[in-house]
Amino acid sequence: MAETTQFELVSPERLVLSRDVEMVVVPGSEGYFGVLPRHAPMISTLSAGVIDIYQGGSVVERIFVAGGFAEVTETRCTVLAEEARPLGEVTLADVEKELAGDRDVLKDTKDEVEREKLQDRIRMLEALADAKRKAA
């Protein structure tokens, strides 16, 4: 059995995933990076993108995250994600519908904080739609 690293995906509400993996590819804010066992310790911010989990040389799971942080040590990789959705569970049509809905709401929103929040959300959904299109 090949050497593995412990991968944890945590969202604010719960521990989404915790398993031993051969390699994960994480969407760092300065480019995607792969984490193998005995990776040099590092902390990085993440941008919206897809996390690929490799097992036995191929991708076994693809999860979309809406940005967050990754902490890597030699034996584990912890991702703190703001929102995590397995790519297989969302459909492009749903995302686009959500996106259109949020854009509509944004048009009528005056409150600055509220606008900022919606814009963040729209950016996240756009990234998700992008990832979905690429995967298709």
Binding site: V10, S11, E13, M42, T45, F69, T78, E112
Partner: protein, 293 residues
């Protein structure tokens, strides 16, 4: 002495009250379990975030850093977030939070600071409106309807950070109840802004700090991490609060149910005595009537 009919009505009314309180107790118990599970599930995220901030904070140290850690260099304007429940009937849960907040407000004002209040939950607003109405800048309700979502906490955090960046306050503290057990909750005041850097754990402290690589740099990560941390802390506080609320309500309703039971026993006793007295009186009337013949 009350007559039989009055007593009967009284007993019936206490019985239906008891039914309500015991149902509320059951509901609170079920909700408490859910709230505890949610609090449990949220812990990993908070722990890991704390760990990152500890290692980052130690690096950036006292040399300044982002304003969310370093503060504005003043503490003239205090923002106080008072988090309570939307509903009552949960013992001293709401009042104890408000009392603690009120004490702090008076203390701060005596020191000549300006105080602004943000209330989360209807009871906080209702109780503070009378005495400190003018200081309330924002009120939120319906936060803990079913289960507290992270989004709610995120919204509050955004409001706060927005106001902080606009220079509306210097220090922010949140008041909530920390869940100890169903019986006891501890009113806690936690400072959100400027963030207190948790001490890195001794054994991993120094070596890990030096080891990490940062991408982008420490400051960049901190700048992204700190706003999230505010939201995470608020979220944790709201979850603790929700669990405490249900715990407090469960205890309060339990003792209310027991009190109702005691009362029913006493009333039933009186009812039976009265009934007996009435029968005896009637008998005496009949017998003495018969003897008189």
């Amino acid at each position: 002495m009350a007559n039989l009919k009055d007593l009967k009505i009284r007993i019936k009314s206490v019985k239906s009250t008891q039914k309500i309180t015991s149902a509320m107790k059951m509901v609170a118990a079920a909700k408490l379990r859910r709230a505890q599970e949610a609090a449990e599930a949220a812990r990993p995220y908070a722990q890991r975030m704390e760990r990152m901030i500890a290692s980052l904070g130690a690096k950036v140290g006292s040399s300044g850093g982002p304003r969310l850690i370093a503060g504005t260099g003043k503490d003239d304007v205090h923002m106080i977030v008072v988090a309570t429940a939307d509903r009552g009937l949960c013992g001293g849960f709401n009042s104890s939070i408000v009392r603690a907040a009120r004490r702090r407000i008076i203390e701060l004002e005596r020191e000549g600071k300006t105080v602004k209040i943000m209330t989360v939950g209807r009871k906080a607003r209702d109780q503070l409106r009378r005495t400190h109405g003018a200081k309330i800048v924002k009120s939120m309700e319906n936060v803990a309807r079913t289960v507290v979502g992270f989004e709610t906490a995120d919204n509050i955090a955004r409001e706060l950070i927005h106001a902080f960046d606009a220079g509306e306050f210097d220090v922010c503290t949140i008041f909530f109840n920390r869940f100890k057990s169903a019986m006891s909750q501890i009113v806690t005041a936690q400072q959100l802004i400027p963030a207190s850097v948790p001490e890195a754990e001794e054994e991993q402290g120094d070596e890990l700090k030096a080891l990490y690589e940062y991408e982008p740099d420490e400051e960049g990560i901190l700048a992204a991490l700190l706003p999230r941390n505010v939201a995470t802390q608020i979220y944790a506080a709201l979850l603790e609060n929700a669990a405490s609320e249900h715990g407090a309500r469960m205890t309060a309703m339990d003792s209310a149910t027991r009190n109702a039971g005691d009362m029913i026993d006493r009333l039933t006793m009186t009812y039976n005595r009265t009934r007996q007295a009435v029968i005896t009186k009637e008998l005496i009337e009949i017998i003495s009537g018969a003897e008189a013949l």
